[in-house]
């Protein structure tokens, strides 16, 4: 039986952060979230029927801030998922939470529902930086939320941090990295701040004093280095894990595995087709309630050509420290990897790419200029 990942989008936050351009609504009302979860469950039930032949081995409840959902809502959502899909016994079930929106009771509930991985958005241990980012919590609040999770029985925890923040110095980042390591989470994601359109930061971008390219590069190297020393293996450009704690769900994205997504703005990849729903909760809820076909709320749908499949496979796999296994590549596509991408040899010579054990992968220095190199070698993206 084929494996399948599920992604559930919860587009609510207590408050929208200054850098965030994901689809999410601030200040949700109780009624709205209840109604949304009912619509989600209807949609999940309907879609589940089409995928009875698959085994769901990962579920990711993301957002937004899924932890703003009431205990009843999260209970009915998980129950619905379990009754609609064949969810494996040992499936990885993750939920994202924000500090200040989680208690020991909630954590215990998550645990009892089978949720076995929690991803926490911390971003920084510096309260000034948190405020500047528009986060709703302080570092102290993170500490108590983290303890609540642990006390509630959640031991597989990811902590998100960000770097290259306005006015940030490498020393500030080191403080965050070191403090985070003290909590011994099993997984750490470290994202470089990118100023996206339609965010508060974009509006004030000219006033932001961002670290320059060289400083960012230093931050990245320092970060990778320190995390590695603390026993976190970098398995993807931005992701670090203790042994055996890689995020199986996120790996699906990079390994071109199938995943099915629910909610406004959610992206799916099934049977070689990539599609996404419009980022409009009203339209989504309305369409599901009135029993319309999901294609009414599609934002985009695209069937990849054979050529695109190959380039996309490379684009995504090259995010991983493992890179592309040339034998697996050949058996999947029937062509030689290096014959198709001969330019890689040049980058290998210059130390951006490493070729060992039958695999081509970016070096650390290569990761940081991967757009440059990928746009040079991939013809069909």
């Amino acid at each position: 039986m084929k494996n399948l990942g599920l992604y559930i989008h919860i587009p609510f936050c207590v408050k929208k952060c200054n850098y965030c351009d994901f689809y999410s609504l601030g200040c949700p009302s109780h009624e709205n979230t209840e109604e949304y979860v009912r619509a989600l469950c209807t949609h999940i039930g309907r879609e589940g029927k089409k995928h009875r032949d698959k085994i769901v081995d990962t579920v990711f409840i993301g957002g937004g801030t899924p932890s703003v959902l009431s205990e009843n809502s999260i209970k009915s959502l998980i129950t619905c998922l379990k009754s609609s899909f064949n969810i494996a016994e040992d499936a990885e079930i993750s939920i994202e939470v924000n500090p200040g929106t989680v208690t020991k009771e909630k954590a215990m509930l998550y645990r009892s529902l089978g949720i076995n991985r929690v991803s926490m958005g911390l971003q920084s241990v510096n309260d000034n930086e948190l405020k500047m980012l528009g986060r709703i919590h302080t570092f102290d609040e993170f500490k108590s939320s983290y303890k609540a999770l642990r006390d509630g029985g959640i031991d597989n925890i990811n902590i998100d941090i960000m770097y290259a923040l306005p006015n940030q110095k490498t020393a500030d980042l080191i403080k965050t990295v070191d403090s985070v390591c003290e909590f011994e989470p099993s997984h750490i994601s470290a994202y470089c701040l990118k100023i996206e359109e339609n965010t508060h930061f974009y509006k004030i971008k000219d006033t932001l004093c961002l670290p320059d390219e060289d400083e960012q590069y230093n931050m990245y190297l320092t970060l990778c280095d320190r995390l590695e020393k603390m026993g976190y293996e970098q398995y993807e450009i931005s992701n670090f894990a203790k042994k055996g704690s890689r995020c199986v769900h996120n790996l699906k994205y990079w390994l071109s595995c199938e995943y099915l997504a629910f909610g406004p703005s959610a992206h799916s990849f099934v049977d070689g087709v990539r599609y996404s729903y419009k980022g409009d909760i009203k339209e989504y809820v309305g369409a599901i309630k009135s029993g319309q076909e999901p294609n009414k709320i599609l934002e985009a749908e695209y069937t990849l050509t054979e050529e695109e499949k190959i380039d996309e496979y490379v684009m995504l796999r090259m995010r991983l420290a493992d890179g592309v296994d040339t034998e697996k590549f050949f058996s999947r596509f029937g062509i030689s990897f290096i014959d198709r991408y001969p330019k890689l040899k040049k980058y290998e010579k210059d130390g951006y790419v490493i070729h060992q054990n039958g695999k081509y992968a970016f070096t650390k220095k290569g990761f940081f200029v991967s757009n440059f190199i990928l746009s040079d070698i991939l013809e069909n993206i």
Partner: protein
């Protein structure tokens, strides 16, 4: 003089830019019913989009107007429009020569400006009767009396009782028409003498061939006559003659002395019908041409290349089409190592250059890369040979040069007094030689300088505007070739000369200019995976150096929630950018980098 001639008035309208010349022309046409309201397109004389947008007239036009004067007599008024910019000075003077008088339009809120004066002097040189028209009197800041006085003091013509109008709202237009009839003399000339027609404009028409606009000075011309261009001796059979009315050509029987009209004679390009040339009959023609004919000589040169090399042929076709109607435009194929195949184009001046570039981009949908404008240098070589250089890359080696000469211009700048200091500094900085300074009134000054043209083509106009908050106006004409200490400045990227960036500069300016451009290049060359040295060199001597550091960090896109579209978009964007790049040896450069070095901000100097 016969009765026919007595009822003709040939006149032009001259003005500084934006003083309302075109609007007044519209009102005159409308008032005299040369064109009905319904047919009236705003500013009918300026019928190129670009002219209308820039508010300037690029090519001359002429219109015949029938007007019944208050004395009950019907008059024929021929309005000959003139190009309104210094680049087209020669063409303006030819249009003025076709007239007996000129309306000098002066904005009552601004007063006399540089082009007002330049045009007025041109009109005086052509012995025209000048009729001042004070415009924009509807505006609250209008000061008619001050402007009247200024006209009398500065130009020295009587302005008492001259028409004061608002062309915009149509106020007092009748007084302008009366003044034309009453103050401008009827044309002289003998309709029985040998034919002499002055060409003041021409345009190419796909059906008729070239339509030649003429003023008949002497003689009579009709269809079937065999004519001769006196400058070239080329002969043609006249197919059609007629008048120019507001909405097009009106076929007529014949054209006689004093009249303005058109000729068609199956002529293929406008370069055969040069402005200022004399048309006569092939047999029993005039013995002497009219005075003042000059070939239109380009003064400013620039390399024009298609941004997409595959569109070279489209660019050539477009230039050929423009050339059909623009005898002053010259172009020849050239090759640049950096930019590929393109053309070295010659223009009358900077505005002419900008107009051509804009028309190529707009009307022919071409993306262009243009090199910095250059002038023609005259070089006396040590072996006695004299050569003219219009492309900096061809500048000879220093040891072969005996003396280098550069063109200079007489520049006339009018500015409010408060900016005089800054403008004199600017002229000084641009190697100007001060001639004199005149107060036009208590608040405005006219400055005369001799300036090297190569300093003017290099952002002088922008600098002038920024130092005078837009108030100063400039007018210039070619003066002479003067000996100069010039050097050829090359730029090297990663050790290789980029020919398209080479230019000629005065030796004292070389260092500063080199440093500025190197800095600008650094800002405009995107980082690559290796370090790129930028060097400026005179011969083998490096005089400035910058380094584009190696790229170390891209933007990293997340693939959150399985949304890989962001990542894809980033890659697409990067690829898009790459496609436009020009490969210079091992370095890729965006077209913007070439453009950026053309314009250095004055404030940085």
């Amino acid at each position: 003089m016969n009765d026919r001639q007595k009822k003709i008035r040939n006149f032009s309208i001259i003005a500084h830019i934006d003083h309302g010349k075109s609007t007044l022309a519209d009102r005159i046409l409308e008032y005299s019913n040369a064109v009905s309201k319904r047919e009236m397109e705003e500013q009918i004389l300026d019928n190129m989009d670009l002219e209308r947008e820039r508010g300037i007239t690029i090519k001359a036009r002429a219109v015949r107007i029938n007007y019944t004067h208050k004395d009950g007599q019907e008059y024929v008024l021929n309005l000959i429009d003139t190009p309104g910019h210094v680049d087209f000075n020669y063409e303006v003077s030819r249009s003025l020569n076709a007239c007996e008088g000129a309306l000098l339009v002066v904005d009552s809120t601004q007063g006399i400006e540089a082009q007002t004066l330049a045009n007025a002097y041109l009109a005086v040189d052509c012995d025209l009767e000048i009729v001042p028209v004070i415009n924009k009197i509807d505006l609250p800041s209008a000061d008619v009396d001050r402007v009247r006085k200024e006209i009398e003091d500065v130009i020295g013509i009587v302005a008492e009782g001259c028409p004061a109008v608002s062309a915009k709202v149509g106020l007092n237009i009748d007084t302008v028409l009366d003044a034309i009839v009453e103050n401008i003399p009827a044309p002289k000339g003998d309709e029985n003498a040998p034919l002499k027609c002055l060409i003041f404009d021409s345009h190419y028409n796909a059906y008729l061939g070239v339509v030649v606009y003429v003023r008949v000075m002497d003689g009579t011309l009709k269809a079937g006559d065999k004519i001769k261009m006196m400058s070239s001796g080329a002969e043609y059979d006249v197919v059609e003659v007629g008048y120019l009315n507001a909405l097009g050509l009106e076929k007529g029987e014949e054209l006689k002395a004093g009249e303005v009209g058109y000729i068609t004679a199956s002529i293929k390009t406008v370069s055969e019908t040069k402005v200022g040339d004399t048309v006569t009959t092939a047999e029993n023609g005039a013995s002497e041409p009219l005075e003042g004919f000059k070939e239109a000589l380009p003064m400013v040169f620039s390399g024009i290349y298609p941004a997409d090399g595959a569109r070279y042929n489209d660019l050539r076709d477009a230039l050929e089409k423009l050339k059909l109607n623009d005898a002053a435009l010259s172009f020849e194929a050239e090759t640049s190592i950096a930019l590929g195949f393109g053309f070295r184009c010659g223009f009358l001046g900077l505005l002419h250059m900008e107009i051509i570039q804009e028309r190529l981009e707009r009307e022919f949908n071409l993306d262009l890369i243009t090199t910095a404008p250059s002038v023609i240098y005259k070089i006396e070589k040590t072996n006695g040979e004299v050569i003219y250089i219009d492309n900096p890359s061809n500048y000879p080696a220093p040891d072969t040069i005996a003396t280098a000469y550069e063109p200079t211009v007489r520049a006339n700048i009018i500015t409010p007094t408060e900016f005089v200091g800054g403008i004199m500094d600017l002229c000084q900085d641009r190697r100007g030689t001060f001639k004199d300074m005149k107060y036009l009134d208590a608040s405005r000054v006219e400055l005369h300088y001799i300036l090297p043209l190569n300093e003017i083509v290099y952002d002088f106009f922008d600098a002038l505007k920024s130092r005078s908050r837009g108030y100063a106006s400039l007018d210039y004409e070619f003066a002479d070739y003067e000996p100069s200490n010039l050097v050829k400045l090359d730029f090297l990227l990663n050790g290789e000369i980029v020919d398209a960036l080479t230019f000629i500069v005065h030796s004292e300016k070389a260092y500063t200019r080199a440093r500025k451009i190197a800095e600008k290049l650094k800002e405009n060359i995107s980082r690559q995976l290796f370090e790129i040295p930028i060097q400026a060199a005179i011969g083998s001597k490096i005089i400035a150096r910058e380094t584009v550091r190696a790229l170390r960090k891209d933007v990293l896109a997340k693939c959150y929630g399985g949304d890989i579209t962001r990542k894809k978009k980033l890659l697409e964007k990067q690829k898009e950018g790459k496609k436009k790049m020009r490969r210079l040896g091992s370095v890729e450069v965006t077209p913007e980098a070439f453009m950026a070095v053309l314009k250095l901000d004055d404030s940085e100097k």
